[in-house]
């Protein structure tokens, strides 16, 4: 019953009812990221206001429950926050995912994303969880570029 710790109720909820899914206008940058080993794909757009506020993160793609739920959670956390704030969440999320299950997550920073802590114990699935988050970081850099 090891997987139970990975498929948290919150992850399954986001998978079944994705938040903010669909590509929207206007946007400053669009990126397309793929996960070659499993064929997961994600197109992601960001719209940032002049003051650095993230106005929208919109996305579309296909993939496993982990990758799709991670995109949904990212949308919730990033939209409405600032670029700097959201990047610190990305950083903490990346640290958690790459910690092989040995990292104590900072719940204050991560919010709902803490539900993915169990995924870190499955090296093959870490890149699923990170797909949307890496795409977001990439899109932000391009939008600032």
């Amino acid at each position: 019953m090891i997987a139970e710790s990975m498929y948290q109720e919150l992850i399954l909820e986001h998978y079944k009812h994705p938040q903010g899914r669909g590509l929207r206008e206007p946007f400053d940058a669009e990126v397309h990221h793929v996960n070659p080993t499993c064929g997961d794909e994600l197109t992601l757009r960001v719209k940032v206001a002049d003051g650095g506020k993230v106005l929208d993160v919109s996305y579309d793609g296909q993939g496993c429950s982990i990758s799709q739920a991670a995109a949904s959670v990212l949308h919730e956390l990033a939209t409405g926050s600032t670029v700097d704030e959201s990047l610190s969440v990305v950083e903490e999320f990346t640290r958690l995912m790459q910690g092989r299950g040995q990292v104590e997550p900072d719940e204050d920073v991560l919010g709902d994303a803490v539900a993915f802590a169990g995924v870190a114990k499955f090296p093959a699935r870490v890149k699923c969880a990170l797909l949307a988050w890496m795409a977001y970081k990439d899109a932000l850099m391009r939008s600032q570029g």
């Binding site: 019953m1 090891i2 997987a3 139970e4 990975m6 498929y7 399954l12 998978y15 079944k16 080993t37 499993c38 064929g39 997961d40 794909e41 296909q62 993939g63 496993c64 429950s65 982990i66 499955f122 699935r125 699923c128």
Partner: protein
């Protein structure tokens, strides 16, 4: 119990200690991933251990006792494999590291300035024919060949049922075709391809024909002479042998006409500073120290399979696949990608579950039930694109699998649907 007379699956399972393993959490192992790589019987492991412990030396060049013993065992293995696939001569068995290397070896013989034989000349205007159901090993080497030579790569399409579409055979294989290379049995669909009509057309137009038999040689008696093709590639690790050893069978006369592949020790006759002459086949294609113990292990694997009987193994797998084709569709939303009848197909079943990604299917099956399946595109991405899906879940059976394990798979899939439903 198996319904095949004289085939005792429980006795066979005892030869594979790993099948009695309990995984963490007390789950029994249900291994349904033999199309990926098979498990190894104690007889193979013991043969390799014994050789490494008591007889090991380098082959073909050491004159001492150990060198002779290793050389004899290595060459014995070649003889066993030749007999196993009905090769007219043991010199037609070339050891490679896997089926991919065997396919590349043949691809590199074409359009190679070292070679002089007309049949292997290749340039713009020439054509290479493969199929849409190939795995990457039988696609990429030919793409690279086309890039090197300016030749054109073409392919057979696949029907909705997962069979090779040979409707356009006459046009596809034509006077410009130099080589046709297709799979004998699909690693995704399970489809066993009918070779003779394609071979007949290849002969008509003077093209050579190669079979990727990685998924057929482990599961049915394959006789290369009877098939009548020019080259056959297969690999050891899918046929209860070790990894690191593969085989290219080729017609002697063609192997003689081909340029060498990798250069190095053992493949030469004489070397000067500015040129070399080459050893006769098969050694011409075996540069450097080969995978000695792996070849000997493959010889033991062939002994094991022969003792069980390839026809018995085929019959047992046919029972399993017929059972699974009955049982799986009871799951709502399950779509089998490939033939839905147990005719001209092997024991490999790929499927999708509506709304659930194969990675999630595989993870739950493994973590909750200890069921090992493969998920993803199985190194056959173009075939998945053909069916408009990114990935599938694949269960593949072998001589040691049981109908009880298929029942476990069905139970596991019901649970998967509960979690994600």
């Amino acid at each position: 119990m198996s319904a095949v007379p004289g085939f005792d699956v429980e006795r066979i399972r005892k030869d594979f200690p790993v099948l009695t393993r309990e995984l963490p959490g007390g789950r029994p192992l249900v291994y349904l991933d033999s199309g990926n790589s098979s498990q190894k019987p104690a007889q193979v492991v013991e043969t390799m251990r014994d050789h490494l412990t008591w007889h090991y030396g380098n082959v073909g060049r050491a004159l001492h006792v150990l060198g002779s013993e290793s050389t004899e065992a290595y060459e014995d293995a070649r003889g066993k494999i030749a007999a196993f696939v009905g090769a007219p001569s043991r010199d037609e068995i070339v050891f490679t590291k896997n089926a991919s290397e065997a396919l590349n070896l043949v691809a590199y013989a074409f359009g190679n300035p070292i070679g002089e034989d007309e049949r292997f000349r290749m340039g713009p205007g020439d054509e290479i024919v493969i199929s849409e159901m190939e795995h990457h090993s039988n696609i990429v080497p030919w793409q690279m060949l086309a890039q090197r030579t300016g030749a054109t790569l073409r392919w057979f399409p696949v029907t909705d049922e997962g069979r090779l579409d040979v409707e356009g055979l006459e046009e596809l294989v034509n006077e410009r075709t130099k080589i046709v290379s297709i799979t004998h049995q699909s690693n995704v669909l399970g489809t066993v391809n009918s070779v003779s009509p394609i071979l007949a057309r290849a002969r008509e137009v003077g093209a050579l024909m190669m079979l990727d038999a990685s998924q057929s040689v482990p599961h049915q008696a394959v006789d290369v002479a009877e098939l009548g093709v020019d080259f056959v590639a297969f690999t050891g690790h899918k046929m209860v042998g070790p990894s690191g050893i593969g085989v290219l069978w080729g017609r002697r006369e063609l192997l003689d006409a081909m340029p060498p592949f990798l250069g190095g020790g053992e493949m030469i006759e004489a070397v000067w500073m500015d040129h070399s002459t080459y050893a006769p086949v098969p050694h011409k294609f075996e540069a450097g120290t080969p995978p000695i113990v792996e070849a000997i292990g493959l010889g033991a694997a062939v002994d094991y399979l022969t003792a069980v009987g390839m026809d018995q193994i085929k019959a047992h797998e046919k029972e399993l696949v017929a059972y699974a084709l009955e049982a799986l569709p009871e799951l709502p939303g399950l779509r089998i990608i490939g033939p839905r009848t147990p005719i001209a197909r092997g024991g490999t079943i790929s499927f999708t579950l509506e709304g659930i990604h194969p990675h999630d299917v595989g993870q739950i099956l493994d973590d909750v039930y200890g069921i090992a399946v493969r998920v993803g595109h199985h190194c056959a991405r173009p075939l998945h694109l053909r069916f408009g899906i990114p990935a599938t879940t694949r269960a593949s059976f072998y001589l040691y699998n049981t109908t009880a394990e298929i029942d476990a798979l069905v139970r596991g899939l019901h649970h998967v649907q509960k979690v994600f439903g």
